[in-house]
Point group: D2
Chain length 210, copies 4
């Protein structure tokens, strides 16, 4: 497989402390997977190797104000995963993605660098439902979208499914994604991603850019 | 759980011959699951019990012209599942969802009846990306969307994920969905749906409408 | 301006009897503009000249069942233009876009021909909110979208505005659009379209395809 | 008209220096309209009167990095209005919405206050195409969306058109919107907004909340 560099972008979803750093609200659940699969190092190598060749687009989750005034108590925005995350405990307090805490900050080893694009405002699982991701990809005439980040089967998968429906050619760089369990990681890699795109490793991706 | 009837809708995805009837392009893969889980009967009972109480919205896949002139050969629309389906063999020829074949017709026992809404034009996995489903739900002031149909982990799940992101309260009626394998059905029921909504049986759903 | 034929599509919005034929619900309002600007003939020449060179995509409005059971009485779907159209009188009864009447049929001189794409399901002003238009454009690797049809300042403009936001290069073929009054036609042509795309005549468009 | 306070939100679009303050890139074009129609004062009175009763949602345009690395030179993102704005001169340099300049900051008299919602990431004319606006409105169970801000016929109108298509009941508070000329302001107020919603003054809006 050959990937034309000027038509390809890496999308990195939610590389933030609440997921990836000790003390973060959801770190304890994903820590084993991150460690055993070397995901942060893989991502660092991927970004270092790809920067300057393909566009790198960061899509962090957007911080809420303390107390979540943006979401009506009991409203549909407090159901499911979002509601669970609002109750989770971090070392720095209760609730994920709270402004003023370290939770929403992008982790140190993966900070964006000059030329990277930082997309603001993500509040939904699927990045396309709450950000300018589609606009920025099309403004850059991107056709191949390589998804990375967290969690494999939630925000990465929801966004990758939509990318397929929006007419992109989808790639998932599997060693640069992680989620809480083997079951979820393997299911997404084996069942879902191969039927909406191409699954490859970070080395394969870097080798395919031309 | 109580579901206000005037704020609730059932969405039935792709109850069509290519999936559900002998001779259809994809029937052989799902036949065992349909039979052992009694899905068509469950759906019939659900619709018969719910009709007149809640809105029933059909979202079939839209037929292509023979030869698929709508999708550029080699273009992104021929990748992944869509490309696979274009090559599949039915008793009536090659390719799923071909106009003029029985494939795209809704199966006899589940034909829409007076008062049901029939949504046209679905060409993507996620119904919200290619139809008026969101418009029709909001035009009817629906807040609770109960997904049913095929396949559990593809079009049903993609649509349910988007419904969550669009601010609906999501229900999946599990005995009225099916896919090709236990692994996929159970994963969707156990891992994904409970975190974006409520999983219930058709009997539980009918009992919850008030 | 040069337009690469394989990256360009014509989108024709709502070329249907309810707008364009004597007896249609809204014909009386647009009849003078159609006649004095020769719009149907211009469209016929455009399609005849472009067919086989660029993709031609029809986006008719989707028919409602008699009595509009798809839209809750008093709900948000009955406000504004939609509500007005539900009350309009045609020679064949009350209400625009009613299934079983001639209203939703595409007018005779502009019937789709082999190779044209027919998009189903449009129920909103902006075609992108209720159809697979974006999917089909991207599946065909289209970058330049040339809008035509009716009404200039409603469905054509709403769709053209969205096309701009979705990262297409927008064209409006002005002599192939019409609306009810000079004020609306000129405002759209002079103020809006030049800032979201390129306004050109059908002859200029045909001359620009290469 | 009665507006239920818990189902109603005010959306304020792009109340930022580049539009509204002397020295801003586009201030000179709108200055007369702002002054003669008293728009900033009207907005201040509206927000002061409505705060604590209805949700107030700010949707500023998102800043670009200096040099606009987010938009590929010559790509579709540099066409039309966006391209024009990239070349405009402010007292503080060239280009609208540049990070590190005063341009993207919300103007002093209209700064958000506690309880207001600030939506991030807007890069398109239509706020719904690049932000979580739909998600946040639905998460708050909003049915009536009252648009205000700048420019009447661009971002306000594109967003209001989409809101109509997304099944909201649309309001435009006309004395809290402005654009560059009488022609544009009056056309939007007289022709477009009454057919997708209700046009009212800030006093009428405050009087209608119950």
């Amino acid at each position: 497989m050959k990937l034309p560099a000027d038509k390809t972008a890496i999308v990195l979803i939610e590389a933030q402390n609440d997921f990836l750093s000790p003390g973060g609200t959801m770190y304890q659940y994903i820590a084993d997977q991150l460690a055993k699969r070397g995901v942060i190092n893989n991502l660092k190598s991927l970004l270092d190797g790809a920067r300057g060749k393909v566009k790198i687009i960061y899509v962090p989750f957007q911080a809420f104000k303390p107390g979540f005034p943006e979401l009506k108590p009991g409203g549909p925005g407090t159901e499911g995963l979002r509601g669970i995350e609002m109750e989770m405990k971090a070392d720095w307090g209760t609730g994920a993605w709270v402004e003023g805490t370290p939770g929403p900050e992008i982790i140190e080893p993966l900070k964006p660098k000059a030329g990277d694009i930082l997309v603001r405002g993500k509040l939904t699982l699927d990045a396309f439902h709450s950000t300018a991701l589609n606009y920025l990809l099309r403004a850059n005439e991107i056709e191949h979208v390589a998804f990375t980040g967290f969690h494999t089967n939630w925000c990465v998968e929801s966004s990758a499914r939509s990318a397929y429906d929006l007419g992109y050619r989808v790639i998932v760089i599997n060693d640069c994604t992680a989620t809480d369990t083997d079951r979820e990681q393997l299911y997404a890699e084996e069942v879902i991603f191969p039927r909406i795109g191409t699954v490859m490793s970070s080395k394969e991706f870097l080798g395919a850019i031309s």
